[in-house]
């Protein structure tokens, strides 16, 4: 057995470290999906009539759609009638402070190392925690409220700010956009809502930790961020999930609406259960994320570190409608064992002098498949637009795959589009160089991979970057020798 194989073996025998289940009695819908279930969800959430109609319309649209098959992933087809579409942790009343939150729930956060109290006290990050589809605690709301910033659960937004939700929901990702987005629109359980008023710079990173819980519960998060003219917000999303055997479906939708001169930074660290080393179990992460730079000089930046999930299908995109608007996509996707990732972005240049930048770093190990899929589309009117794309792949061992599918559509001759791509392997030479200086192999791999991903990690807010670095090290422990 060569050194490579041996270490790969050690790597693949690594178990997921966040594996456990919380015992919270779920109040849940019966399995399956039909109009009654949607009415049940809507009623449970005490939603207005228009939203129920919107959901039903989405359901009818979805019923006529087919699952997309173009992605470079394969998994057993999902039985949508075998999924529970609503489940909520039991609670007597909406908690006003952490003291009122189920202690078991808080304990789970502690296991994850994201105790809300700690978060609140130490980092000044406002956290909207989502467990099993219902928000249980929202912090720092008062402080944000002073500035007119709304940061709350989606359900709460529906109740408190129906006019905003009604105006923007589906405005970036229409119901009929794709199969999973339509499904989400029909059954979305909860999520986050964020509104930054005109000219306001949000003074803290807004952060949501997601957690998937009860067995067989699909998680259908919906996030809506609206940045009014000249505002700024940096939004963080991070997640881990418990170990489990059955596959769990996650079909989230994130919509971001950025007006003139506003800027939104959206950062994700995704560490859902990737399945075991034989490829059993793991999350199907089929996500639609899109933002629109609706006004001139608007700016939208996506940064993602994807290490989890059995299947990832995700293309955070930017519609650059306003003149001089710009979109960025920075991504690190790490796959191991039998994980499959098909991820990338779409940059749609509509306005004049729009700019986009894509930096994608894929790391594949084990028997995994890692694909970058990206589209750069410069429309007729997009005079003077520019794009720069860089797609790098790093391979570990001989059993994994890295793929790049760039699509470039240019309809305006003045556009400048650059695409660079590299594929490399972590060399034994690099590892030996490190070990010769006294660094053990695992740290060497972590060092090299973190170096490789540096350009992306640098985009993350400080506290997130540290977490992401640890995550990369953890995911790739012992991967190459």
């Amino acid at each position: 057995m060569s050194k490579d194989d041996q270490i790969l073996e050690e790597f693949t025998s690594k178990e997921y470290e966040h594996g456990w289940t919380i015992d919270i009695e779920s109040e849940q819908a019966p399995k399956g999906l039909n109009e009654d279930i949607i009415r049940f969800i809507s009623a449970k959430k005490e939603e207005p009539e228009w939203l129920l109609e919107w959901r039903l319309n989405a359901f009818r649209t979805w019923s006529e759609m087919k699952e997309p098959l173009w992605a470079n992933v394969s998994f057993p087809s999902i039985n949508y009638q075998d999924i529970i579409y609503y489940s909520a942790p039991k609670q007597k009343a909406t908690p006003k402070s952490l003291d009122e939150v189920d202690p078991e729930l808080l304990d789970t956060f502690k296991k994850l190392g994201i105790s809300l109290e700690e978060q609140k006290r130490l980092t000044g990050v406002a956290v909207d925690a989502v467990i099993d589809s219902v928000s249980v605690a929202t912090t720092f709301k008062d402080k944000l409220a002073e500035l007119g910033i709304i940061f709350c659960s989606f359900s709460e937004a529906v109740k408190e700010h129906p006019e905003l939700v009604k105006k923007y929901i589906g405005s970036v990702v229409p119901v009929s956009d794709n199969y999973y987005a339509a499904l989400n629109s029909a059954v979305f359980s909860d999520g986050s809502f964020c509104y930054i008023p005109k000219g306001v710079r949000c003074p803290m990173e807004l952060s949501t930790y997601f957690r998937i819980n009860a067995a067989n519960t699909g998680q259908f998060e919906r996030t809506l961020i609206v940045a009014e003219e000249g505002s700024y917000v940096s939004y963080l999303e991070g997640c881990t999930a418990p170990m489990r055997d059955e596959n769990q479906l996650h079909a989230a939708v994130v919509e971001i609406y950025v007006k003139a001169d506003a800027e939104v930074k959206y950062s994700t660290v995704q560490n859902w259960y990737p399945g075991d080393k034989e490829g059993k179990g793991g999350i199907y992460n089929l996500v639609t994320k899109r933002g629109i730079c609706a006004g001139d000089n608007a700016k939208l930046s996506w940064t993602q570190v994807e290490t989890g999930s059995a299947v990832t299908w995700k293309y955070p995109s930017c519609i650059l409608k306003g003149d001089n608007s710009s979109g960025e996509f920075y991504s690190v996707a790490v796959t191991n064992n039998y994980q499959q990732a098909d991820t990338g972005t779409k940059m749609i240049h509509i306005g004049k002098n729009t700019k986009s930048r894509i930096v994608s770093k894929g790391v594949s190990a084990g028997k995994s498949q890692n694909s970058y899929r990206g589209q750069v589309h410069v429309m007729k009117r997009a005079e003077g637009s520019r794009n720069f794309s860089q797609c790098d792949s790093l391979l570990m061992g001989n059993n994994c795959g890295a793929h790049t599918f760039p699509y470039i559509d240019i309809e305006n001759k003045s556009a400048q589009v650059e695409h660079e791509a590299t594929t490399s392997k972590i060399g034994e030479d690099q590892i030996f160089y490190c070990t010769q200086r006294g660094i053990d192999e695992e740290s060497a791999v972590a060092l090299i991979v973190n170096g490789y991903c540096k350009e992306v990690l640098n985009q993350l807010p400080m506290e997130f970057a540290v977490e992401a670095q640890k995550l990369l090290a953890l995911t790739l422990e012992g991967s190459v020798g």
Partner: protein, 253 residues
């Protein structure tokens, strides 16, 4: 310090080292010379623990411990340093970050507390002077886009940082102009002491004008065929390797 007895090593079933005997004591400088393909770099690699080579026979002890049993990082932590002939590029990792990781792992191994940022920077500043290396170079990705001279200087800087007991310089002179050579040699000389030893692997005598060896060994076909003082190096410079080859081939014929 280092004792090598009848060391045989091969790569992909090809024998490279065929019975090396060598003893290096603290405070000594040994030069290993020899024609291309004689096994000089292999010897350096085997001592540092590169996995590509298989040791089929013989032994090597370092400070009384079986060197060949140790993983590369253990050897390093025990005080073996290899200045690479071709230092490897590690994109996105600065020399500073790299050294910090290395030093703290070595310290942990030795039961010492990790260096805090201030002590580390102080140490770095002190060692930078030794090899006349610039801060900006240390902030750049390790060896990426470095000139030949910068790479070698960076190796000696790392050596200064890690303060090895046994330093092995593998063709450190290759690709250096005379000024760079002097700087590198000067650095090595400053690091010499009565408690540490140096093995200089080189093809040319030139480097030995600046790093003066106590012993010179000539490696040919995987064996040390001749040992002597620095005069031997001068003789080689003058006469080339052919006469040694002839002598050695005649002896084994």
């Amino acid at each position: 310090m280092l004792k090598i007895q009848n060391l045989h090593a091969s790569i992909e079933d090809k024998d490279i080292l065929r019975g090396i005997n060598l003893e290096v004591k603290a405070g000594e400088v040994h030069a290993i010379m020899g024609p291309n393909g004689s096994g000089k770099s292999t010897l350096a690699s085997v001592l540092a623990g590169r996995e590509d080579y298989e040791v089929s026979e013989g032994e090597a002890t370092f400070l009384g411990n079986d060197l060949l049993e140790m993983a590369p990082e253990e050897r390093a932590r025990e005080g073996v340093f290899l200045a690479f002939q071709y230092p490897v590029e590690i994109p996105g990792v600065s020399t500073t970050n790299f050294m910090k990781t290395a030093i703290n792992q070595v310290r942990e191994y030795r039961g010492q507390e990790p260096l805090d940022a201030v002590s580390f920077l102080t140490l770095m500043k002190e060692k930078m002077k030794l090899v006349d290396i610039d801060q900006s170079l240390l902030s750049r990705s390790l060896n990426e886009g470095f000139s030949g001279g910068e790479k070698k200087r960076n190796e000696i800087f790392q050596m200064a940082m890690l303060e090895p007991k046994l330093a092995i310089l593998d063709e450190t002179d290759s690709g250096l102009d005379i000024d760079a050579l002097k700087i590198v040699a000067n650095g090595v000389n400053k690091l010499k002491g009565k408690d540490n030893a140096t093995i200089v692997v080189t093809h040319y005598q030139r480097l030995l004008d600046y790093i003066v060896p106590d012993y010179v060994h000539v490696l040919y076909k995987g064996r040390i065929v001749k040992s002597g003082t620095k005069d031997l190096a001068l003789e080689l410079e003058e006469k080339g390797y052919d006469w040694i080859k002839e002598e050695a081939d005649a002896a084994t014929a």
